[in-house]
């Protein structure tokens, strides 16, 4: 078994209301030095055999991320 992680984030120019809501709540926790918060998805894909980066990239491209609004990164987890 091998794990590939796909990180999917909204493109920088797309508004992220969820991240903003978290950022807005920070002062209440006494945190004032955060410039921004962005929230995306972390997808852990467990392959039965070898970690297959190509496969994972294809899955990410077709299914996990919407290219209109999102970017993704694929990596094998150590």
């Amino acid at each position: 078994m091998a794990r590939v992680v796909v990180d999917v984030m909204l493109k920088p120019e797309i508004l992220d209301p969820q991240g903003q809501a978290v950022a807005n709540a920070l002062p209440r926790l006494g945190v004032s030095d955060v410039a921004s918060v962005r929230i995306g998805r972390r997808v852990e894909i467990e392959f039965e055999g070898e970690a297959d980066l190509e496969r994972a990239r294809e899955i990410a491209d077709k299914l996990l991320a919407n290219p209109v609004i999102e970017n993704f990164q694929v990596k094998v987890e150590s």
Binding site: P17, Q18, A21, V68
Partner: protein
Amino acid sequence: MKVGVVTFPGSLDDRDAARAVRIAGGEAVRLWHADSDLHGVDAVVLPGGFSYGDYLRCGAIARFAPVMESIKKAASNGLPVLGICNGFQILCEAHLLPGALTRNQHLRFRNREQWVRVESSATAWTGDYQDGQEIYILIKNGEGCFVADEETLDMLEDNGQIVARYVHGNPNGSMRDIAAIRNEAGNVVGIMPHPEHAVEALTGPSLDGLGFFTSVLKHLSGGSEKE
């Protein structure tokens, strides 16, 4: 005229869409997500709901259903397709319409009655409306905020592809108040509010939604199309 209504696992407003088709005078035909046969329908509605639970992104998984392949092909040959709410999300995910529908800016599901202005009667689904007509229907969604890059938005405006806009308040932060758009040919329309829930006096906020269904029937019988 036969109007197909697709049921995906998790479709919810399929009965409602079929009822609206019947009230408008059409014959509603049930289409099943796993069946690529369109059973000779003259138009298709992708109804609201939470297809495949709407996990991941709304519409992302439904796009791969066998029925969508056939719909894509038929749409490129002019088959009228209306995606309502989840159906709109599926059409965007399937690249039959540009842009994407994202989380409402206030981050909550919102169900309320809503004024919408019809901007384009030049589609298979809106021929019965006047340009500029304000209709009172309803929204109910968690991810109804339409986004696209500026270029795409300008293109939509320039081509007259914006079919409806929210008026008297934008319920979800949708860019340029967009409530509905169409493809270039005008046969494929995606709309976030729910016309199928405004077809009966007792159960809806108005009868203003019926026009979508009467329009397509007229369009199919070669009636009042304004294109």
